[in-house]
Symmetry: C2
Subunit: 236 residues, 2 copies
């Protein structure tokens, strides 16, 4: 199971969420070193969602990033446990944030919990396609499934840097914007919701602008946040 | 999914782990009210382990406590997500412990993580019966699968009451002892490891004594811990 956890968390991938987290910490004047436990936590959290998402009872995917998925490589039982282990280890890593541990755990539990990330996955599992006919309902799903974890990444960066609550909330909006834009780009690449493609393209532009404006509110220290927003906008 | 989480966490059951947690808080002079978030956390953690344990890829159980298991009642995908949601909510509840949140999350992540609880479940899933031929190896499995969560319950009670680390460690040994004894009793009721039954009976007596001695070290405030130890010993 430990091997399966390692396999899941260290596969090829862009490490976007930890990059956002460290950029957010930097924007708040925090040292990278103090934010590293949170960066590890957000990547383990993301890895767990992929392991459980790929299971036969969920999306039933055999391959991810060119490699067999965890349940194909290690069996379904071990894949369930490995996902559970990564989720548990993510919270364990946040406990290393000292005085900020409580706030960090509260944010991750909310963003990754039943009313955001997991709620989005449950909708994905059970919703009929026609219930997702409008851009607004598609974006609500994107906000839960993808936006929530990018929002958590940005907020956790602020928390690890000791930023005040209002700043962390603003970072959360930054993360939500790039997360939703990212999922629009993903849909386009997967040719999903094609009848909404034009509207989604315009939304990606607007969301990218919103994220860039928040990044700029941090001045020079927000430069990395701004480049990340620009990269997301360039995917539109 | 929310309904499935509720179904899983509120079924019939003895609520032993929260009872141990509150008794441990009481032994340390803590108020029940301050320990309630941790009591909720340990029960949600326990409920999640049952939901995932019952899945077809794990123990494949259709019934628990006289009711259909979660995947039978709600489907396998929702059962996976509901377990994930309960695990996430457990850590979210610990975030409410204010200054003790970090220590509490660290303890639960370790006890419920890949090297204790989940490690035990992985062994359960993959070990050959002959590798469990001795009482010592059976007890190592019991310590991981059952002892770890009772240990976490007792430690979290101490942490929520602001007890020093040495006291929490002692409470952890109390929890481990009653947890292992509990699992021996469970094996006897399920007629597992029958060739070890006599030795296990003697171990249950010894473990009960150990737990009782730790409870008594708390003086009058440890009375409830002592009665719980006596109840576990009476199951022998």
């Amino acid at each position: 199971m430990i091997e399966a956890m390692h396999y899941a968390a260290t596969g090829p991938g862009k490490r976007l969420r930890p990059a956002v987290l460290l950029a957010a910490a930097e924007a708040c004047g925090g040292a990278h070193a103090n934010a590293l436990p949170a960066a590890a936590a957000i990547e383990m959290l993301h890895a767990y969602t992929l392991v459980h998402d790929d299971l036969p009872a969920m999306d039933d995917d055999d391959e991810r990033r060119g490699r067999p998925t965890v349940h194909v490589a290690f069996g379904e039982g071990i894949a369930i446990l490995a996902g559970d282990g990564l989720l548990t280890a993510a919270f364990g890593a946040l406990a290393e944030l000292g005085p900020y541990a409580g706030a960090a755990v509260a944010v991750l539990a909310r963003r990754a919990g039943a009313f955001e990330l997991l709620g989005g996955q449950a909708i994905d599992l059970t919703a009929s396609p026609e219930s997702l006919g409008s851009l607004a309902s598609v974006e609500r799903l994107h906000a839960a499934k993808t936006g929530a974890l990018f929002a958590a990444a940005a907020e956790l960066g602020g928390i690890a840097a000791g930023a005040p609550a209002a700043t962390c909330a603003s970072l959360g909006r930054y993360g939500l914007s790039i997360g939703i834009a990212f999922q629009h780009a993903d849909d386009r690449d997967d040719q999903e919701f094609q009848e909404l493609a034009e509207a989604a393209k315009e939304r990606m532009r607007v969301l990218g602008e919103e994220a860039r404006a928040i990044a700029q509110s941090f001045g020079g220290r927000g430069a990395r946040l701004a480049s990340i927003a620009a990269w997301f906008a360039s995917q539109a």
